[in-house]
């Protein structure tokens, strides 16, 4: 099986004013293409930190992380951002949309940044908007939407460039359970139909049902 994510001996520590906080200790992880992984653990155990490291948004203090065989941190600004646009999608707990752009523009953002022509990606964007159910609201700005609608927009944006991996940090943390379930179902559907690998941080055991593997973190280590 081909390893889409391969982390070896990953350590992460933060240097505070007078002490060193070790957040991740010797984490080893292999994830195969097409997996839907739930990361669980108590608050402060380092889940988010791990997710951002794997997604290349931050640098590990020690160890190596390969995504599709590439060490992202060794790449320059250009290649790194290109990978972020094309190979990776992020969904955060707070929806993180660009405030002054409409939903449609938010979704198109990674594609246009990649230099793609608007008319070439429009069809796909519409399809995504239909899938996540915000097609009628495409010309609204984020401020005018509910939390669930915003989160669905964020998912559509993460998918516009057909990434290989989707990272989601508590994507339903701010939503009521019904809306949350809708989002989870959506993720499951994406994982199954498109074969996109998903790593999702979550607090609820309930959510893990949609995934196919659980990684538990405790005090910065993977618990067995």
């Amino acid at each position: 099986m081909c390893k889409i994510i391969d982390a070896k001996g990953v350590n992460k520590s933060f240097q505070l004013a007078n002490q060193k906080v070790e957040v991740l200790k010797n984490v080893n992880l292999e994830i195969s293409k097409g997996e839907f992984i739930s990361i669980m653990g108590p608050s402060g155990s380092g889940k988010s930190t791990l997710l951002y490291l794997l997604g290349g948004l931050d640098k590990a203090t020690m160890g190596t992380i390969r995504i599709s065989g590439v060490e992202m941190n060794k790449l320059g600004d250009k290649d790194q951002s290109s990978m972020r646009r094309n190979n990776i999608g992020f969904i955060f707990q707070a929806y993180n949309l660009v405030e002054n752009l409409t939903l449609e523009e938010n979704i198109l953002l990674p594609a246009l940044l990649d230099g793609k022509k608007k008319k070439n990606v429009m069809k796909r964007a519409e399809e995504l908007m239909r899938t996540v159910g915000i097609l009628e609201r495409r010309d609204h700005t984020p401020r005018e939407l509910s939390g669930g609608e915003q989160q669905r927009t964020a998912i559509a944006r993460a998918l516009i460039n057909e990434p290989d991996i989707l990272f989601a940090d508590e994507p339903i943390g701010n939503l009521d359970s019904k809306t949350g379930t809708g989002i989870l179902k959506l993720l499951q559907q994406i994982n199954r139909e498109k074969g996109i690998t998903i790593l999702m941080v979550t607090h609820s055991e309930e959510s893990t049902r949609y995934g196919n593997r659980i990684i538990r973190l405790k005090d910065g280590e993977i618990a067995v």
């Binding site: 951002y52 948004l57 951002s81 990978m83 646009r85 707070a94 993180n96 990674p110 246009l112 940044l113």
Partner: protein
Amino acid sequence: MRLFMKALLKGLRDKKARTALVLFSIAVSASLIFANECFSKVCEQKFYNADVRWGGNSDICIQTKAAVGAKEWIDENMLARYDHQFAYRYQFIQEKGLYNPSIEKMHYFTVLGVDIKEFNAYNPITLNQGSLDDWNGYKAIIGTTYAKKYNLKVNDIMKLELYGKTYAFKITGISEARGLFVRELADGGFILVPKDTMAKIFKGGSNVSFIKLKDSTQKKAMKEKLTDEFGEYLVEYGVDDSLIAAETTNYVMPFRISAVAVVFMSIFIIFTAFSLITLERIPLIGTLRSIGCTRKRINRLLIGESVFLGAVGGLLGCLMGIGVLEVIIKIYFASDAATLTSAVVLNFRAALTAIGIAIVITTASAILPILRITRIPIKNIILNDVWKKNGRRSKLWIVGLVLLGACAVVPHYLKISFTGMIIGNVVATGALIGMIPLVPFLTRCISRLFGRIPFLSYESALGVRNLHDNKSLLNNIQLFSAAIAIVAFMTSMFHSMNADLIKAYDRDTKYDILLVLRHTDGQTLSKISGIEGVKDCFGSYRADPDISNHQTFFNMLYGIDNEKFFDYNIVQGLNSNNEALANLKNGRNIITTNILKDKLGLKIGDILMIKSGSMDLPYKITGFVETNLGIGHVGYISSDNFKKDMGVSDYSEIYIKTNGNPDSVKNNILRALSKDVMSINTKEELKIANSDKVVPMFNAISVYSYIALLVGLIGIINNLVASFLQRKRSFALLLSVGMSLKGLNRMLITEVVGMGGLGILFGLASAIVMSSAIPSIVCIFWGKVSVALPLSQMAIMGAAGILVMLLIAAVPVMKSNKLSIIESIKYE
């Protein structure tokens, strides 16, 4: 409540940069006000010093008249009768003496024969070199300015021609540019020699006498008494306080007007800063209100805070003002810098005025945001529902358009008058204010247009879009536009004034050489006509008397022999005055200018009382012409009337047209008339001398507009830093979805450069609109001008503006390179 105050103070301390900015802009305004107040003190002091250079602080001055046949010497016995009322009385002989080292350097000095002990006691002399001892025989004291010019030192011999004979004087002292010598260049140079020596040469007594009364309050009565009794002499005040006050106002007025621009910038910055500050305090206010604190009380506290800030800023401003004062004085009085005495700097009243105005400015700009916030109902604050979601866009831009339109149109209908000047100022300021709400509207229109440019990278397109979506960027465009508008408007004003001066010379002056002779008679003009290179010449009489029934003055009152005068000095509207010209000498008739007509509301047949000595002479207006000379305060009477009423017999000036190069003709004239020439200048020389006169004033006032620019730039940088903090999260977000750092930088640079470009565009455009008001603003103290836009300077300003913005762009770019994505996303 103590808690609340603590919270307020903590807020100020936490936002150090912003508090500093607010304090700085208050301080700048205060400093200019302080500097203006002190500057007027400096001017007063300077004019006072100049006025007392003759007679110290004497109360009354008696002089013989210049007219032919007038008494040559003062009758001292007559004066001695009043000695019991005088604290002192001292007199001297004043005559012209020719210093003639070579024909090019020939110069007439005013030679005073004085008793040096007496003179020094009442009007102290400060010597650089030499001494006042052994004051007898052929000794001379000269001023440092002319000593330098002629390279004269103590013990040098200086040959002076007095009363037709040449005498060798030994220089025994060189005086600093103080006292009598304070304005030497303008006065044409003084030489002090022993009184006995002068008396022997001129065979006379004294012709100038200064008097100090024992009881100075009797000044007016004594002057009247002496005027009656000494009808054959000129009796005047030693120092005329009202004249000093009037002169000072004239000097300080332009500075006062210019300070308004800076105050405007300050108010704008303070207003936006306070809007932000109060916004942040909404939660605190909500909490207080919910525990029962009244709205009034909160208002009082917040206003109290702004008063406090105003006072602190005002105090700082006074300190800064000393620096500003130094600069404008250095520039303004470049040649003879007035010294800053502690009496001027520690001017308590100026400081109080500055601090008071600072408090008013601060409170006035803070009060609107404060009231807006405290008016929000508690419920909304607690529910965090502060902003009514009204999708409607503000229509304020229409008001802005109207204000700009008013400025473009109204001045064309304004008359030359004080009211006209006020209205001109108001519409110009209105245009500046009107630009503010127009900026968001126009930015939206323009950036939509630019967003369409096909080859723009997507990051740049986002930057262009942010220009009108981001409040802080919009605010920056407003700030920058206002700063540019102020600087460009001032430049345009000076440019128009200066261009007019030069134009007036080129267009209206039709002679090549202006000559002033010591004596003239019936033969003079024909003698000059015979000199090689002289094509034609004409003489006129000239004075600058007051117009006593209108509290104003003539800069030039000409006595003219006939209408040929106007071949040398062009005026417009002469055709309709043929009859008036022909009848000028049939009675006391005068032709004056349209500017005076508008200013004073005159009409044909009105009487102008022209002051000559102690007499007021009624002249009937028979015509009006159009001229810009002497700010339009000009009048023409017949030479016969002039000679009779002003008591002169020599031509004041002679205009010469030449056949060849004026410079060589000038030398021919000098050679032919040598000692009779008091001054001779070609048109080119006069033009330079005249524009030099106004340049220091322009430069000094420009300091104010540059300060406005500086305040604007500092405001912009502060805004950029503050908004970067606010936008950090959205930048991190863009990076997380795959914008490269380079792309982010491109977006930020596009924003700042777009901001600069729009600011320059709007700023220059409003400066051009505001320029329509220039004629009405300057007419009172400058005469009629037509607007001349300084296009090349504006282009330079535009280029410099973009350059500065590129530099400023470094602020967000450098910050963005240090941005950590997750930290910005995780911690809001």
